[in-house]
């Protein structure tokens, strides 16, 4: 029998990783698990749209205009005789795509701006901060409408619009985080031993400010989906005849006397997905910062 005791188990076990809070948050509360389930269902629907949709979302038919829900058309048909359910199933692709891509892109650009401002300081910081502060005074929706007014609709423009509307928020958080991380001894040490600036930024600073950025990203997925819906509803987002939940409601409003079902169905889908993403976003934020739990 060895006189050296087995290593204390706690020391051998891996400590909590930097992103363990995500797992804890996603599967911590029953409501959040339901929300994750809803999102998963919509992701499957979007991915398998060509298989799941009973009809082509663009095929028009003069023979079945404004039909109420039936066994053939679960949510009825619109003023062009297109199947509403099929349009909603295809529309989910646009909503989820914009909802996920835009916050991600905004996180990249916003974080870059914020880190540059926070790390270099001086005149660079003053210019970036001034513009960011100014843009932060605008609600995202208003900013998005104003930019879309200038750019017009279409796939790439919508991505640009939503991304730009979110950049200031990421920049502010990234700047504040960078200012605090910059004071840490390991950054000072890295500067002292002459590590090159890009390496300091990407190796030492960026990984250490990622947690709040990821939380912000998750919080804004819901906002991005709402934004895309609003822009498409206003006619400056996803362009007809390409379906999106927002422009299905737009078409429905022009056909109010024909059938209310497109509005009811598409609106319910937006509400459900945004609600689910909000629940997840809140849970992730609470897991990272328990002081926000009331």
């Amino acid at each position: 029998m060895s006189i050296i005791a087995d290593p204390v188990p706690e020391l051998v076990e891996r400590g909590p990783g930097r992103f363990d809070f995500l797992r804890r948050a996603l599967f911590g509360r029953p409501a959040t698990i339901v929300a994750v389930g809803i999102i998963a269902a919509f992701v499957v629907i979007a991915a398998l749209a060509p298989i799941l949709a009973p009809y082509d979302p663009l095929t028009q038919s003069m023979l079945r205009i404004n039909k109420p829900p039936s066994w053939q058309n679960w949510l009825g048909t619109d003023q062009f005789g297109r199947d509403v359910l099929s349009r909603m199933i295809y529309g989910s692709r646009n909503s989820l795509l914009f909802g996920l891509i835009s916050p991600f892109l905004a996180a990249i650009f916003g974080t870059t701006l914020g880190v540059i401002a926070g790390y270099f300081g001086g005149i660079i910081d003053r210019v970036i901060s001034r513009v960011v502060d100014l843009l932060l005074a605008f609600p995202e929706l208003l900013l998005a409408i104003m930019i879309a007014a200038v750019l017009g609709g279409g796939f790439w423009n919508v991505i640009v619009v939503i991304t730009v509307a979110f950049i200031p928020g990421f920049a502010r958080v990234a700047r504040a985080q960078t200012l605090s991380v910059k004071q840490d001894p390991y950054v000072e040490a890295a500067i002292a031993i002459g590590v090159r600036t890009p390496v300091i930024i990407f190796r030492h600073i960026v990984p250490n400010i990622m947690a709040p950025i990821i939380v912000l990203m998750m919080l804004w997925v819901a906002s991005a989906i709402r934004l895309e819906a609003s822009l498409s509803f206003l006619g400056i987002g996803t362009q007809a005849p390409n379906p999106s939940w927002g422009n299905i409601i737009r078409d429905g409003l022009n056909n109010l006397f024909g059938s209310p079902w497109p509005i009811i169905g598409a609106g319910a889908a937006i509400t459900l997905v945004v609600l689910a993403f909000n629940l997840i976003g809140d849970a992730v934020r609470d897991a990272l910062d328990p002081s926000t739990v009331q």
Partner: protein
């Protein structure tokens, strides 16, 4: 107080200048040629040239910017290509409808939201609290234009209680027309304000002076409203500014749903018709709204919390 006011007002000037610069950059540089954007790909070289001449787009950029700022300052922002009316005239006609909608919606939202928040905070983790929480979760998720469309279908189209579209004539008729659109925005608002009031009041109610007030035998109502809610108002004031701006952005879609006149409808209509001068005018008006509302909120802040005057 006077000094703080002056500093704050002086600070608004470069802000306005910067806003105008950003609008200018967005309008002139980002999307390529505004002449092509306005006239379409099919326009002849001659038409494009005439458009550029008329809009002053042949001048150097710095000159264009000065003209643009001067135009905003002197309230001369060109004429609409579609209706041939002056942009400022169009804005002035539509502005009251948007302001009316936003203010009525805010008022309704506050009237419903603050009591909801107080109810939730005083019944923490009981049934009313859960009810308010569910209400605010849904309020955060439901798109305002969807809610508006539902209200329109039920109360205007089917029950005929309210008009389907338009802004109305005269005070009573206008209030009648604004009710349903304002209610739509107010329901979303009440969710936000209710949650904010709850959080803020809960924090205040855990303070020592609340315990003191209770210990000296003050009635519960007096503790909540006199000692609690008054102090919970401060964070609510900041929320109010954000909320006012959010309501304003929401008004764009709501004006489309209820087919009401307003700045949002003017702007969206101009985008569809590529009416360049009107788009620019609409964007400037919204930008000015943001600057002015932020300024007003700062001023309201010093009224609500006099300590800020002393510290600045």
């Amino acid at each position: 107080m006077g000094r703080y006011l002056l500093i704050r007002l002086a600070d608004a000037i470069p802000t306005i200048f910067l806003v105008l610069l950003l609008v200018f950059i967005a309008m002139r540089i980002l999307p390529g040629d505004p002449a092509i954007a306005a006239l379409g790909d099919m326009a002849t070289a001659e038409q494009l040239q005439m458009f550029r001449e008329k809009m002053g787009l042949n001048a150097p950029l710095w000159m264009q910017f000065i003209n643009f700022v001067w135009g905003v300052l002197t309230l001369n922002m060109g004429t609409s290509m579609m209706s041939n009316q002056s942009v400022v005239g169009l804005v002035l006609y539509n502005l009251p409808y948007t302001i009316e909608l936003t203010l009525v919606a805010m008022l309704m939202g506050l009237t419903a939201g603050v009591p909801l928040g107080v109810l939730a905070a005083t019944h923490r983790n009981k049934l009313p609290d859960s009810g308010v929480r569910v209400f605010s979760l849904i309020g955060y998720a439901v798109p305002d234009f969807y809610l508006g469309a539902l209200l329109l279908i039920v109360f205007a189209l089917n029950l005929h209680w309210f008009p389907i579209n338009g802004g109305g004539e005269g005070f009573v008729d206008r209030m009648y027309h604004v009710f349903l659109p304002a209610l739509t925005l107010a329901m979303v608002k009440a969710a936000f304000i209710g949650r904010l009031t709850r959080t803020s009041l809960l924090e205040v109610l855990s303070k020592d002076y609340i315990r003191t007030a209770r210990a000296k035998g003050a009635k519960e109502n007096r503790v909540i409203y006199r000692h609690g809610l008054r102090n919970a108002l401060l964070p609510l004031t900041t929320g109010l500014g954000l909320s006012l701006l959010a309501t304003l952005s929401g008004s764009v879609a709501i004006e489309m749903v209820f087919n009401r006149p307003g700045i949002g409808k003017l702007l969206i209509g101009a985008i569809a018709e590529r009416d360049y001068a009107v788009i620019q005018g609409g964007v400037v008006v919204f930008a000015m709204f943001v600057v002015v509302i932020n300024l007003l909120m700062d001023l309201l802040y010093i009224v609500v919390d006099p300590r800020i005057r002393v510290n600045s």
